[in-house]
């Protein structure tokens, strides 16, 4: 099988779908849906085919695209284990979410635009997955940002969606600026941007990582990760991005795009010196705890899930910072499964309640929407890392790794462990709150009373992804079949990415004294938290009981630690006056002086010369005569 051809087909198929939709199918929503969903499933099929028949050898091929003097920009494919896992996650989850969107957007009036946007997003994301050098990755990075902007602004008639999409794009740009500077510096320092070549250089000269340049490059490339994956301090765009339709939130802001940052970090992991890793670890762990707490202060179901996403991105960042990129990718894959299920479930609920998103207007939906409720419950248990659910293996691995870091490298790192532990408890708290408020109790509004189970378009993806949230983690038990090609439900090549780290951590936990007991403590606390939330929130009628009982804390959590307010103040009071100062400078000297001034000077010269036009014939004859004398003097030689 010809890998470059298949990859090109996988990459170009969504682009062709987007082009066809944009050119021809803008009006006909149904055909656009067929095109997009068709291409999505084709991609899923082709990806599975590639993964099943791949022999595990790293595949790298590139073609020169542009050349500027010494610098040549090439596009190519680098397909190794990491790419295979990411490809599987992206194509699989995206295919089912596209099917879900058919059901969710059935009453929407701009289906063509939506599915075109989904196709463009697929193209961009697959480009990031398959890219082999940093420039190509950056190009598709920006394309993903654009697709996100376009899809968030789907309901562009509302101010909130417009502002949210702009905020997402601009905040992403701030991160991308650091990314671009990092890429340029990387090229300047190492002489190449090809990932494999860079890896070879670093393995050949490990001492290169000790230089200041490496630290700088690592931090700057991390800026891209910070922007795209909503890390501290620019995580403010992700919650506003919930203004987009729910499938968009599920696909882009939970499963794939925000994971692109993690993927980038895993790809360039060899470039990161220890300082950068520590920074990522601490900021990730902090975000885990903080976002987990903030999720308790939201009444919008999607915002709550968005903070949950932030929290889990913190987990993945912590894993990266601890030095286990494989674990980060493992958690990313599991997170894609259960977070997509949660968002799709939320979408199903929102759709059934006629686009009502406040959880205190829902309730009692367990009876009315059983499939949604059960899949939501499975995914919730998975995200709370209950044993044998998919989330348990990845999340507990990370928590144990954090503990081991503290045990082996110094007590200060116990702080990381405490933070992720708090985050885990918060997960149970907010997920329990969410489930009990939305699905149990009595319906709190008209819409909730009349809700009914969603169509098959929506329930089938829910079932499939819910099933995966339950069982996907069992790959760690190593049940191989198909001649060693497949391990449980994942191709072996994908599992290779993380199984090494996982087993390493598991062994270390065995050998350490407190490893197991702490795990059990974690599980027990999680279960206790869920039961506590049942009693605390399950009886609530309207309004949040926490808001009633501890309004100060609730306000802090609701305002998201006043991050947004701080940035608003900064932009309005600090940045704007500086810009206005520059603007007036520009207006005064450049616009007024140079541009207007040259026009003025020319006009004055013209006015002066206009004096010569006296209108008198005789004057013109005198001028003529003067010219003749001049010429004559020159000819004679007097001049």
């Amino acid at each position: 099988m010809n890998l470059p051809v298949i990859f090109t087909i996988i990459l170009l198929l969504p682009l062709i779908s987007a082009a066809v939709i944009t050119l021809f199918l803008r009006r006909s929503g149904k055909l656009a849906e067929c095109a997009s969903v068709g291409s999505g499933f084709l991609i899923m099929g082709l990806s599975l085919y590639v993964l099943l028949t791949w022999n595990g050898q790293t595949f790298h091929q590139s073609w020169e695209w542009l050349r500027f003097g010494n610098f040549s920009y090439s596009m190519g494919y680098l397909f190794d284990n990491q790419a295979s896992l990411m490809l599987l996650v992206v194509s699989f989850v995206a295919g089912w979410i596209q099917l879900f969107s058919v059901g969710y957007m059935d009453e929407d009036e701009a289906q063509g635009r939506f599915f075109g946007g989904l196709s463009i997003f697929m193209f961009s994301m697959l480009g990031i997955v398959l890219a082999d050098n940093l420039v190509m990755l950056f190009v598709f990075w920006e394309l993903v940002g654009f697709s996100s902007y376009m899809l968030i602004a789907h309901y562009y008639k509302t101010d909130f969606a417009n502002m949210a999409s702009r905020k997402a794009f601009i905040v992403n740009r701030i991160g991308d600026f650091g990314f671009v500077v990092g890429i340029v510096w990387c090229y300047h320092h190492y002489g190449t941007l090809d990932l494999q070549t860079l890896a070879n250089i670093i393995t050949a000269h490990p001492d290169l990582l000790g230089t200041g340049a490496a630290v700088g490059i690592g931090l700057l490339i991390m800026c891209g990760f910070v922007g795209k994956s909503a890390q501290f301090p620019i995580q403010v765009w992700l919650t506003d991005a919930m203004a987009g339709p729910t499938p968009v939130s599920a696909l882009i802001h939970a499963a794939t795009m925000v994971a692109a940052g993690i993927y980038l970090m895993a790809r360039v992991f060899f470039l990161l010196p220890p300082f950068t890793q520590e920074w990522i670890m601490w900021s990730g762990a902090g975000m885990t705890a903080f976002a987990g707490l903030c999720a308790l202060g939201q009444t919008d179901i999607k915002k709550s899930l968005a903070y949950s996403t932030l929290s889990h991105l913190g987990y993945m960042a912590t894993a990266l910072g601890l030095g286990y990129p494989g674990l980060a990718l493992f958690h990313m894959a599991m997170h894609a499964c259960f977070k997509a299920t949660l968002f799709l479930g939320a979408g199903s609920v929102i759709h059934a309640c006629h686009h009502e998103q406040d959880i205190y207007k829902m309730g009692g939906l367990l009876r009315r929407m059983p499939i949604t409720a059960i899949t939501f419950a499975i995914a919730s248990l998975s995200i709370c890392a209950m044993p044998f659910f998919a989330g348990y293996y990845s999340k507990d691995s990370i928590i144990s790794a954090a503990y081991l870091m503290g045990a082996n490298h110094g007590a200060v790192f116990y702080g990381v462990y405490v933070l992720v532990f708090v985050g885990a408890v918060c997960t149970s708290l907010y997920m329990g709150r969410l489930f009990f408020v939305v699905f149990l109790g009595q319906p709190r509004s008209e819409h909730a009373e009349h809700a009914h189970e969603s169509s098959a378009f929506m329930t089938i993806p829910l079932i499939i992804l819910g099933f995966l949230s339950l069982t996907a983690g069992w790959v760690v038990y190593g049940w191989t079949w198909d001649n060693g090609h497949m391990i449980w439900l994942l191709p072996a090549s994908c599992v290779q990415v993380f199984i090494g780290d996982f087993n390493l951590i598991a062994k270390q936990v065995e050998s350490s004294s407190l490893g197991h007991p702490l795990e059990i403590l974690d599980i027990v606390l999680g279960v206790a938290a869920i039961i506590a939330t049942y009693f605390f929130y399950g009886r609530a009628r309207t309004g949040d009981p926490l808001a009633a009982k501890a309004p100060g804390v609730y306000h802090l959590l609701e305002r998201h630690g006043w991050f947004d307010d701080f940035y608003d103040w900064y932009v309005a009071k600090v940045q704007q006056p500086v810009c206005e100062m520059f603007g007036s400078f520009d207006k005064l000297f450049i616009e007024f002086g140079c541009v207007w001034g040259t026009g003025l000077a020319t006009g004055l010269t013209g006015s002066l010369l206009k004096r010569a036009y006296v209108g008198s014939l005789h004057a013109y004859v005198y001028w003529f005569f003067a010219g003749v004398i001049l010429f004559w003097a020159y000819a004679v030689g007097w001049l």
Partner: protein
Amino acid sequence: MTPGLQAYLTVAGVLFAIGFAGVLLRRNVLIIYMCLELMLTASTLALVAFSRFNGTMDGAIFVFFIITVAAAEVAVGLAIIVALYRRRRTIQVDELNYLKN
């Protein structure tokens, strides 16, 4: 004393100067035009004198063309002056200053 080349040239020069003075000093556009023709005539005289004293026909043939062109030019110029008069009702050049500023 038989007139030599200089004599003829002097006459031509004086005629030219008088014509030039007329162009500069008169305000009636028709008289200015007539003085222009005077200047042309002076140049034809100089040309014929040169032609005669050099012994070739070139100067005389050139004069032939000058006379023709001057006739055509007078026709067109007078048509323009008439059209201008119809518009402005004046033939004094200091009142025909619509190109001013």
